[in-house]
Each structure stands twice: as C-alpha cells, then as structure tokens.
Symmetry: C2
Subunit: 464 residues, 2 copies
DNA sequence: CAATTTGTATCTACACATTTT
DNA sequence: GAAAATGTGTAGATACAAATT
C-alpha cells in the first residue's frame, strides 16, 4: 500500500480546455503558474501525470511535457522520474532572509548577525586607514580585483583557514552573497544544475531562482553530504556543480570531517563538478586552533572558495575574498567586472588594515570566545540537542512535532523571539523532521539570549 | 544584383556528417560553437539556410532549427527573418572595457575616467564621515537599500537631475554596473529581449551575454532612437524592455531632445516595455543649468532610473542610486538583496556627506568646466566633428575609411594613445561607418590631452 | 505584387530511463 | 524480477511571418 498515494485522488490540476486559446502549451503554462502563485496548488502537491493530463485535454502528451518544462524553468515545479511532477516548495513565496524590521522589540534568534555589537577595532582601523593619507590612491579607478597589497592580505588570511592560493588567483568581492552571485553567473548557465544539501543556505535558494539555476538536493548524514548519493545523483541528472559549506553548513551546523571531505572530493573530481565552497566560519576554528584542509586545497583547482569577512569582522563592510582555480580565472574576473566593475577599495582597505595589524585575528578569537559562551548557555537550556556539536553561531533544534512554518515562527514571535523554521532552508519541501535554526550571536547580550532561549524552551515543552 | 550575395558562395559551415555522433542537434551545436570560437567562422559570416543544411546533412530541418536556437541562446549567432542567420559580432572575444594595465605609458583617450585626479573634496568628506562618530551605526547590518538619510540625499540629488521620486522608491547600489545587473536580473529572464541603440555601452553587451538577455538594435538618427523603428521592432520581435541613455548616449554622445523623449515614451507605453534609463552625465547639464525632464518622469512608474555617482564624483567609491516605479519595488529590492545583501554603508555615507555639504554640486560644476575646456581643446583639433555637440566626457570621431578595430587601436597604441574603436560598442557587427570613441577626461592633464589629440589628428590625416 | 527564400512557432511521434508495484 | 507508471531526450511535420527578388 502506498504511503502517500494520490492515484485515487481527483486530479489536483484540472484546466478547463474550453477556456484555453491556442497556443495550448503557453496557455496551460500560464494557467498553472497563476494557480500556483494564487496558492490554489500548494507546494508539494502532485500534478497529474503528463499522459493522463494529455488524455484528458486531448492533446499530444509531449505538449504537456512542454508545459511542465516551461514551469520547471521558472522554478515553479520539479519532476522526478518514476515518481511524478510536484509543485516546488518555494514557488509562491520569497524565503530571502533579510534585515528585519527594527521597530519590533524582538529577541533576535533568527538572523545570524555575528555579534555585530563588537565593532570598536573596526572603527579604529577605519580611522587608521583614513589618516594614512593614501586615500587618493584608493579612490582611483584601478585594480578591479583588489589592490596588490589587499590581495596579499587576503591570501595570508585564507592561508590561516586552510586555503592555499596566491594573489593571481584571488579576488575581492562586495560580500559573500555578491561573490556567490558572480561565481554562479560566471561558471554556470541558466538551466544548469547544482548539487546541494537538502537543507541549505536560504539565500542560495532564492539566488538559484533568480539566476534560473536548479538546486538538486543530495541526501546526507551527520557528517554532511553522502558521497554515494552524490555520485548517484550525478549519473542520473547531469549535474554541473556542487555547493558546500564544509566548515559549518548553514543551517544544520554540520561540519564535514576530513575523511568525508576526501571522499566527496573524489566523487567531485570523477564527475568533473565545479565546487563552490562557501566558508562562513572556519575563522572560528582557526581562532580555536584547529583547521582541517579546505575542499579547495583537496581539489586542487577545480573549485572556487568564498570567504565572507562580514560575518567574522563587520556586517557593514561588504567584503569577501574568493580563491579560484586557474581554469576559472578568466571567467571569474569577467564576472566580477560585469556585475561590480570593482569592489569598494575603502572597505577592502579597512579589512586589510585589520588583517595586517593583527586585529582581525584578535576579533576572531574574541568572537570565538563569545560563541563558546553562547553555546554553553544554549547547552544549559537544551542539553539534549547535539551537545557535542561544533562551537558556532547557530544551532539546529528539532521540533517535537511537524508544524507549519508560519505557525511556529508566528507563535514564537508573539512570545517575543524571532526564529527561523527549517522550511525556509528546505530545497525540496517537507522533510521527515522539522527544525528551528537558533542564532546565538544576535541577541545583543547574554541576558537577552538567556531570556530568548527560556521562552523557546517553554514553547517547545508545550508540544510534548 | 545583390550587394552582398552569398548565394553562389560555398556553404560557410559544412559539418562532416560522418564524424557526428548522435544526438545530432547537440553535436552540430558543439561543432558550430567550436568553429566560431576558433575564429574559423568570422563575426558577420552568413550561415547556411536551415533547409539547405538539413538537406545536405539529410536531417529534418527543424533539427537544424534546434542547433541554431541553441547557439543563439549562447549569444554566438543571431537570425533575421527573410535574411538568414549570422555569426554574432562579439561571439568569440570579450569587449569588456576594464581598467587598463598601468605599466604601459599611454595617453588615455579610451577609458572614461571622469577627471578622477580631482579627488580632494572626496578625501575631505571621508575624514568628515569618519570623525562624526556614528561609524558604529553605519557598520550595523541594517537598511539593505540604504539608511533613510542616505536615501533622502539620493532623492534630493536626483531631483536636480529631473527625476522625481521618494525614499520608498529609491535604492543604493554598488555602482551603476551593479545596479544595472540587479535591474536586468530582477525584471527580466534569460531569453528576454531588450531594445538598444545600434551602438551602445559595451559593458551592457557583455552583461547581456552573461545574463543570456538578447540585445536587439533599433535604428536611430542624430536625436537618438527612432520611435517608428522601435514600434516596428516591438511588433515583430516580442521585446520585453528597452535600455536608453537619454542624457548622453555612450558611445555616440547623442543627447535625446525633449520632443524625441516624449515620442519614445509613447511607444514604450504602448508596447508595455520596461525602460532602463542609465544616466551617467545629466549632472553635468544640471551644473551648467539646464536639465530636460527624465524619461523616468515622462513614463511615470514604468521605468527604472540609474544614476551612477562614481563617474561624477569618485571612481573608487562604488555608489549608484536607483529610482524605480512602484510596480518594480518588490522585484528590485529582492534583486538587490540577492546579489549584494546590501551596499557598503561607508561609501554611501561619504557620497551622502558630499551631497549634503554642497561639495557634490561644486564638484559637478568644476568637472563640467573641465569638460568644457577639454571640449574646446578638442574643437581646435577636430573642428569638423560635431562642433555643436553636447559638452561631455567623450567624443565620437568618424574614421575616414573602414578599418579593422585591432589594427586602428593597435597602430594608435604604438603611437602612444589608447582609443576605442566603434566595433567594441556595436551590437550587431559592422555598420556603414566606423568611429573612434575619444575620452577627454582621462589624460590626466591638458598637456597630455593636447598631445594625445595631436597624435590622433596626424594618424587620421594619413588616411586621406 | 506575387513568388521565393528564410527564420519562427507549435504540435506530434517515438525511444529511453527510473521508480514503484 | 517483470510489468506498469512516469518523466526525459531526440527528431519530425506543418503552419506562419517577414524580407527579398
């Protein structure tokens, strides 16, 4: 007996042929899009099989294929061989995580702000840069990828994070999201497919929609994506690339151990995938003393490594470093130029100053300690949740029951805390277990954090 | 007798069927792409008609259609009904105009640098911003589209340029190219078509390739694009948008007069096009006292206006303002967020300071005067060239004979000046007349400029 | 101005791959 | 493990539209 059989159900989508004016494939695609956007076809709903619908509408069934294909390209639906076609999870709404409305007096456990209240060294560095008297040079129209000494600082910083590159294969972008956009635009085309974790960075989900690049979820375990699964997906799907956050996967807080990194690297090489390695947090491990080799180093050239500086140092300065394989140099610089012309030299210089005078490292150590303390606080409230997990900016808390995202987030908001439900991060809709991502670095201070966690604790206990 | 008949010529592309392994459409597309990229099929070359090639290869001719379609999507070729299919002008090379190599001791008449040597007020403003003591607020993670007071300054600045908007419909980007990228990504999809001038901003040509958006050239006269031609193109081609630089079209230096703006606005409205109005220079007119109404104002909401501040104030600070119609707000902010998260608050604040303390206006006046002087110098050397033309940063100089771009640029470079040939700006390959774009704001000083222009003058005289 | 050339749009036919039963 | 269900990929047939001759 099928667990979730729709076979006997009426067709979820039953377009009225009489009201359709040819061209049919276009009219049908528009009808489907309208119904999905209006919420009359909910995410996850199974669409009628192509042949069945063709029969019902008395059309050749490849015409229906075309309808589904069009809607797939828009990211509205997706199909799986043998299973059927389904409405995509984030087809109607926008899961972008953006700066929240400041008016609401909420305890922030949703957005990951990175202890941004700690900004004094950055302010000092700003003064230092401005007073050094080479502003004029910075304000010239040159060095699109970054001034040589800025690139040298970037190379040095990345070296501490287990990424070995040189100035010729490094570029400076306006933040990690900007670097990610450039990488995706430069190295992939609309319609390309990229393997990702089933739960991934929600802004990547939106970026995929914007750039018409498909994200294909690949199953994983507690150590990250499973190499066999990746290999299987590749042989089936013609995958062009893969996006990973080995240091600390957002939102699941999983760190990929060295052995798994090596296995994954092998599969990536065999299938000639382009790896985008997004690193938001290995600076924290570096501050604590241990960094495993990056996937970038393991792959030797077949990847692009992105290292955002905003979360580690200062959210208002939009700087990210990128290291890329030699084969990608031309494409990446072309992309950088086409979407930015160049990155702000001033922001880049301030970060450079922080690296060169050693404050960047001190900030990293300080924030690492703050994170450690926050994690300790968290462990007091939720001793059962991944006690052994990595010290990080956020935790991944299982929900006792499956509950709609808006309901959970809304109820918690009414109790005074903002949190993010796992649904926001899900590439392919509902999964067996729901979670909350709990940011530990955004409450502003420890008292607020404790208060927020206690509210959360009592909210979750009500379920049991 | 046809002027340029290829009918009797052998087929320019004669794939060897024996060496093709099915799927044919893919194999053929790859073969064509390889030949074009290798330069064995030159830009402008006419490909065999679909039916003829199908006959020759003994395939159904819609299979050939598919081959051509694939290559069209990659921007390698383009087709015109009744005429045939041709290799696209910039299929093999990259026409991006990027910061030149500093090593070569050239007089710069190529890149438009905007008198960047004049940067003192900007340096002063930087100090002022840093010393005001609200760096901390700037460094927070908030206001993705810009802080309210920054937006207020932006609104005020644009008002002087004939653009009337409010803070709710304004956003700050990391430079004009970045704003353009966001606009194209937010409002269009891969495969969409945008009407442009036959000669247009060369970075737009590359951006179109990167985003898989087609640029369709529309003929114009000395007053800019012709409304009838635009209307005709729209009924034929299903055009989604239009890109114009009414204040001063790059590279032709054409300013669209009010009457033409109104005619164009009408056609744009009738065809429901989205207008992207790129304004790099109306601040110069504002400084001289006269600004016609912007297309943005004339269209009332159906457009996006981009106003880059880098060329007018400081190339190193990457700031552009965008005003958008209410209908586009959601999409634009979503795009801004997805490609940047937010713009550097520091850069934005420095520009804001310059606007609020009045220095921005003073810089504009000063640079306008510099431009006027440069134009006067230019008129001495080239009295016959558009003497009546607009005071601007560059001139459009006709070449006496049609000559290959690399040859002309190369010979001038050997004589010590960098210039850009019209071919870099041409959307559809060769046109009846070749030009050089001559930047008057990048030589560093007037003596250099005079020297450069005199070299250019004697070079051009050799042709006659 | 009609016939021809040439590209575009839509729908059809069929072979293949994977998953479920 | 064979059969059925279901999506994917490739190629063909036909009507239409614009430009040239």
């Amino acid at each position: 007996m099928p667990v979730n059989s729709f076979d006997s159900y009426p067709m979820t989508w039953k377009p009225d042929k009489a009201s359709l004016t040819p061209p049919y494939y276009k009219a049908l695609a528009e009808d489907l899009e309208a119904k999905i956007k209006a919420g009359r076809l909910a995410p996850g709903a199974k669409l009628p099989p192509q042949r069945e619908l063709a029969d019902y509408l008395d059309l050749n069934y490849t015409t229906i294929t075309r309808v589904y294909e069009l809607c797939k390209q828009k990211g509205l639906i997706y199909g799986t061989m043998g299973k059927g076609t389904f409405v995509a999870p984030h087809s109607a709404e926008d899961v972008t995580i953006t700066a929240p409305n400041l008016a609401a007096p909420l305890i922030e456990l949703g957005m990951v702000n990175g202890f941004s209240e700690y900004s004094k060294p950055v302010e000092r560095a700003t003064h230092a840069v401005v007073e050094k008297g080479y502003l004029r040079r910075l304000y010239e129209y040159s060095y699109p990828a970054g001034h040589p000494h800025q690139l040298a600082a970037a190379v040095r910083w990345m070296e501490q994070l287990g990424v070995h590159t040189d100035r010729e294969h490094t570029a400076i972008f306006s933040g990690a999201q900007n670097a990610l956009t450039a990488a995706l635009l430069s190295l992939f085309s609309p319609g390309d497919k990229i393997a990702v974790d089933p739960y991934t960075y929600s802004n990547l989900i939106e970026l995929g929609k914007l750039l018409h690049i498909f994200l294909i979820p690949v199953a994983g375990d507690g150590a990250g994506m499973l190499p066999e699964e990746l290999d299987k997906t590749c042989t089936q799907n013609h995958i062009n690339g893969i996006y990973l956050m080995p240091a600390c996967t957002n939102p699941t807080a999983i760190t990929i151990p060295l052995s798994r990194r090596m296995e994954l690297a092998k599969v990536i090489q065999q299938n000639r995938l382009i790896l985008i390695e997004d690193d938001i947090s290995s600076w924290m491990d570096a501050a604590a003393g241990t960094v495993p080799p990056s996937m970038f180093d393991l792959l030797g050239g077949q990847s692009v490594y992105i290292c955002g500086m905003s979360k580690s140092l200062c959210p208002g300065l939009r700087i990210a470093y990128m290291a890329f394989g030699a084969a990608f140099k031309k494409a990446i610089l072309h992309g950088l130029f086409n979407i930015n012309i160049k990155t702000s030299s001033l922001d880049a210089e301030i970060i450079t100053e922080l690296i060169l005078n050693g404050d960047a490292y001190k900030i990293a150590v300080h924030k690492q300690q703050l994170a450690e303390k926050s994690c300790a606080v968290f462990a007091r409230y939720f001793p059962e949740v991944r006690a052994a997990a990595h010290t990080g900016y956020f935790k991944w808390v299982p929900l006792p029951t499956q509950s709609p995202a808006d309901q959970v987030e809304g109820e918690l908001m009414q109790n005074g805390v903002r949190t993010y439900h796992s649904m926001r991060f899900s590439v392919r809709g509902k999964q067996e277990q729901d979670f909350l991502r709990i940011a530990l670095c955004s409450a502003g201070n420890n008292r607020n954090l404790e208060k927020g966690l206690s509210i959360l604790q009592s909210y979750l206990q009500r379920f049991s």
